[in-house]
């Protein structure tokens, strides 16, 4: 009985206790349910995103670079099919082993293998490593034969930059190479589109127009599993090719210029005097940009680097030279504009026995026997130094500097288009005080008058100067990439209206001129100078008379220049050595500036031969050949211009 009561009691307790437990269970179930609700309904989106992030991985596909053409649509930089081998790291079980096997099939050099290991360190386990960028067809077919033994190796048909006219345009187009960390940091476009193996412009147009040329990378989205293995492709947002660029270069003229400079160090620039289009910009010696695309070998690099003629320097815009006598037209113009001299002003050049003297310093003319009594026209034509010593003295360096700057010296011609372009120096009293912290000597003015001393110019600046003289004294906008905005008709009509304008107050002061604004005070002054340049080439005793064209349509006007690289001593003068007898490094630079055709000027050019000797012997003859080509090409160029305008 007691037991029965006990059991009843126990039954009661157990029921009560169970009730508490069930209540607790219901409570816990509530927690679980609300948690489920929270995860699956309230925060569903957050977890969906996380789930997609887990399962979807993006691979960027490399964009194709835009194609670069010359003005006539000849391709000067394109993309060529190349054979490559990639290694998919996630499929490789033993990396060292794979590299060893690959090494036996394709030839890999020690430094290439070192680079592969370096790249591997930087890659993620699911990345693809580029083992070789440019295999020969023989290697590629051999690789395909042994492919079954090479886990993870993938033969890939890819494209890479190719320059069909290799050496001829390297200083204009530049070249591409692997993007460095610096490239990625500095250019947003590169950062946005970076893909391992992406090539970016290192120099030239390839560099300055990189943002346009690169294009946009594609995106392949794959579903991947937890270990990163691709399961399936979800979407493929195709990559786009970069913009195609048309340059203003005429390939034929460029090639001729390059040919004329062969085996010499120097530069040739050709420009349209109205549109400012750079038609040729040759620099010699050159090198092959194709060698840089897949990383240049040490041997090739050393060969380029150690060449005494310095092929890496773009002499057209990074080479600085004293302009020599090519500055004379500008000196004459400045003196006329300021009214320092008139056309009747004459100076007597009496030869080496009676040099120009100033405070006891003696300044000689290049001509031993002297030129005699020189007028301005004759002084330019025969390039008399004595005349310009005197004119410069009367003019003063500051006025000369002002006019020189106005016509394009002392500043970058293509602004910031080329990283390597130099400004040069147009000295003035103020400049000397600021930069050298010294006061100016009159003797320095005198030698500046013949383009010696502190003054430093690039060949492209001389070409621009000539253009702005030849077009009648109007500021133009030099350019290298075809630009719809720059329209010949528009420029000509602007110039016509500028001509009619009355002279502004600022014309003799330091003033910022806008494009196509007139730069001169009196048009007759300029005419006189240009006519003197005509004389220099087309009349007897002119310094470039021997390089003239007799046919009217090729007739051009020019000015020679011979710039000293070291001071000529009395002893040198006594010896009067032939060019071959002087040490290369001590020979003068030969310069020539010209515009053509004379009756209706359209093109300007500058020629520079480093250590070439005299301008009339070394530089002017090249202009003869160039100008024939330029004039012959004129019509087809204009036809293209018209076509391009119609398309626009």
């Amino acid at each position: 009985m007691i037991k029965k009561i006990g059991n009843l009691n126990k039954n009661k307790i157990i029921s009560r206790r169970l009730f508490v437990l069930v209540a607790a269970k219901i409570g816990l179930l509530g927690i679980v349910t609300s948690r489920l609700y929270n995860l699956q309904i309230s925060e569903k989106q957050k977890y969906e995103v996380l789930s997609d992030k887990n399962r979807i991985r993006e691979w960027k596909t490399p964009p194709q670079r835009g194609i670069i053409t010359d003005y006539f649509n000849n391709v000067i930089a394109d993309n060529q099919r190349v054979y490559q081998v990639h290694l998919s790291l996630e499929e490789v079980s033993n990396f060292n082993n794979s590299i060893f096997k690959l090494k036996n099939i394709i030839s890999l050099k020690e430094d290439e293998i070192k680079k592969i290991y370096e790249n591997k360190e930087k890659s993620k386990p699911w990345d693809t490593l580029i083992i070789s960028e440019n295999l020969s067809w023989k290697e590629f077919s051999k690789l395909n034969l042994y492919l079954h033994e090479l886990e993870g190796a993938k033969p890939v048909l890819s494209t890479s930059r190719h320059y069909p006219y290799s050496n001829d345009l390297v200083h204009v187009i530049g070249y591409v190479g692997d993007a460095t960390t610096k490239d990625i940091q500095n250019k947003k476009k590169i950062e946005e589109n970076f893909v391992p193996g992406l090539k970016v412009g290192k120099i030239g147009i390839e560099n300055s127009k990189d943002s346009d040329l690169i294009g946009n990378h594609g995106t392949k989205r794959y579903e991947v599993n937890a270990s990163g293995k691709k399961i399936s492709e979800i979407s493929y947002n195709k990559e786009t090719q970069g913009e195609n660029l048309r340059t203003t270069i005429d390939l034929e003229i460029q090639q001729l210029a390059q040919e004329l400079l062969k085996n010499q160090a120097g530069s040739i620039c050709v420009m349209d005097i109205y549109t400012g289009e750079v038609i040729a910009m040759a620099s010699s010696p050159t090198y092959d940009p194709n060698k840089f695309t897949h990383g240049i070998s040490t041997k090739d690099w050393n060969e380029i680097k150690n060449n005494k003629l310095r092929p890496l320097i773009n002499k057209s815009l990074a080479g600085l030279y004293s302009p020599g006598s090519t500055i004379k037209p500008l000196v004459a113009l400045a003196a006329l504009e300021y009214g320092i001299i008139d056309t009747k002003f004459k100076v007597n050049c009496k030869g080496h026995d009676h040099p120009y003297e100033l405070y006891g310093e003696r300044y000689h003319c290049w001509k031993k026997n002297g030129h005699g009594l020189m007028s301005m026209r004759n002084a330019i034509k025969q390039s008399c130094d004595i005349y310009f010593y005197e004119v410069a003295r009367l003019l003063g360096v500051d006025k000369l500097s002002l006019i020189a700057k106005r016509y394009g010296l002392g500043s970058k011609v293509l602004e910031d288009f080329f990283l390597e372009e130099k400004k040069g120096i147009v000295p003035s009293t103020q400049w000397k005080k600021q930069v050298l912290e010294q006061s100016w000597y009159l003797g320095e003015t005198v030698i500046t008058g013949i383009g010696q001393g502190y003054i430093q110019t690039t060949p492209l600046q001389l070409c621009l100067m000539t253009a702005q003289l030849a077009n009648g004294g109007f500021k133009i906008k030099p350019n290298l990439i075809h630009d719809k905005e720059i329209d010949l008709e528009m420029i000509k009509s602007k110039i016509e209206s500028e001509k009619k304008k009355s002279v502004s107050q600022n014309i003799l002061k330091d003033h910022q001129f806008k494009h196509y604004e007139r730069l001169y005070r009196n048009p007759n002054n300029l005419k006189l100078v240009l006519d003197a340049m005509y004389g220099s080439t087309n009349e007897q005793f002119g310094t470039s008379f021997r390089s003239r064209h007799k046919e009217d349509k090729y007739k051009f006007a020019g000015k020679t220049g011979t710039s000293q690289v070291k001071r000529i001593t009395d002893q040198d003068r006594e010896l009067d050595l032939d060019l071959e007898e002087i040490e290369y490094k001590s020979r003068d630079h030969a310069l020539f500036i010209a515009f053509a055709p004379f009756d209706k000027p359209r093109y300007s050019l500058s020629v520079l031969i480093e250590h070439g000797g005299s301008g009339s012997k070394a530089a002017a003859p090249l202009a003869n050949k160039l100008i024939k080509k330029i004039v012959d090409r004129h019509e087809s160029r204009e036809k293209i211009r018209k076509d391009l305008k119609n398309i626009a």
Binding site: K10, I14, L18, V22, L29, L36, I41, E223
Partner: protein
């Protein structure tokens, strides 16, 4: 009393027995079992291969075993309760010396057809043993120190053996179900309060003796992002899978988290995650509801049973079952630290299936022989 028992017990006819069977419970178990087979099938990305085959066979074998063993008299279970317990302890000791190790713990005995995990059997053994233990004790005696100390020792032995394997999860479940029965038997509330307080005070010491991986799991539980690729990975991936399932789920065989192998241990402890990812909130609630129904049916059988042993066993087993389910689901939902705790019936694993089916067969036996008033 003894006489009448024997008389009554002899009077069960086969038809009576069949009638007494709780078919509803069997159906629920069968439904959950089928769901589990489909889920395992999904973990293999819809291939009927190793895990699915094994799981299906195990389920069918143990389910049949459950049905057959249901006809063993509940009094027999009562009589063999201590033997069952001792057997369990012996097996645990056997594991200690001759067990198979896997991933750093020694939990299994190689039975050639399957690897038996005695700690799983111990879960049931403890409940049966305690039910018998309290069956014969007067309610007035329960509060005495003697009857307080004995069950605690009975509980500590298997817990200790399991912890040293090490298998914290199963040890907690064994301890939890043991405590549930002690609670149901009527032990004074104050003991629970006291021991709770003592536990809290001693927690720092307990933590200091935990294995590094156990500590890291607990720390990770409080902040899974602490080590997102290491210890926190499982919780994070599990939450992502469940959360991204949404209201209706991604669909059968469409669970990307498991299909793409982001989900760890998806066959075993994280089977609920997979299920929830593929069938969403609705599916999860249905599964939980099925479990609730199962527990309800077990409790109902307890109420219908005449003997205290049967009652205590049913209520105890129901509570233990709830505990297993709760710990597993709360764990994969990130509500509890990750401790190895399978989801009953759903998870892949023979021993767990065996012990649950064994437990259910005792429940069913209570139902069939509900009129048996077990004597001491």
């Amino acid at each position: 009393m003894i006489l009448s028992t024997s008389l009554n017990s002899n009077s069960y006819s086969f038809i009576d027995k069949l009638r007494a069977v709780d078919y509803f419970l069997i159906i629920i178990v069968a439904i959950i079992g089928s769901l589990s087979v489909f889920s395992i099938y999904s973990t293999e990305s819809g291939n009927f291969s190793f895990y699915t085959k094994n799981h299906l066979i195990r389920f069918l074998v143990f389910f049949s075993m459950f049905l057959i063993l249901s006809f063993i008299r509940v009094s027999a279970w009562y009589r063999q309760a201590y033997i069952f317990y001792i057997l369990g302890i012996l097996l645990l000791l056997f594991v200690m010396f001759f067990g198979i190790s896997a991933s750093g713990s020694k939990r299994w005995i190689n039975l050639f057809i399957m690897n038996l995990q005695p700690s799983e059997l111990m879960k049931i053994a403890v409940i049966v043993c305690f039910a018998r233990y309290y069956h014969r004790i007067q309610s007035s005696d329960i509060q005495s120190y003697k009857y307080l100390l004995q069950p605690i020792i009975l509980l500590l032995i298997p817990c200790y053996l399991v912890i040293t394997q090490p298998d914290l999860g199963t040890a907690i479940l064994i301890a939890g179900s043991g405590l549930a029965i002690i609670w149901l038997a009527g032990l004074n509330l104050k003991y629970f309060v006291y021991s709770g307080l003592i536990l809290m005070v001693s927690l720092p010491f307990v933590i200091s003796i935990l294995k590094p991986y156990q500590k890291s799991r607990i720390l990770t539980f409080f902040n899974p992002e602490r080590d997102p690729l290491g210890a926190g990975y499982q919780i994070i991936q599990s939450k992502i899978a469940i959360g991204s399932g949404g209201f209706l789920g991604k669909g059968f065989l469409q669970g990307t988290q498991s299909y793409l192998e982001f989900l760890p241990e998806k066959h075993t402890d994280f089977i609920f995650t997979l299920f929830s990812e593929e069938f969403g909130f609705v599916g999860s609630i249905i599964l939980i509801f099925l479990y609730a129904l199962l527990i309800y049916r077990i409790i109902r059988i307890g109420f219908l049973s005449r003997s205290f042993f049967a009652k205590l066993y049913c209520f105890g087993f129901a509570s233990a079952l709830f505990l297993y389910i709760f710990v597993n689901i709360a764990m994969v939902l990130g509500l509890l630290p990750i401790v190895g705790a399978p989801l009953p019936i759903m998870s892949y694993g023979g021993s767990s299936m065996l012990s649950i089916m064994l437990g259910l067969s005792i429940v069913m036996s209570c139902k069939i022989y509900s009129r048996d008033p077990i004597g001491s």
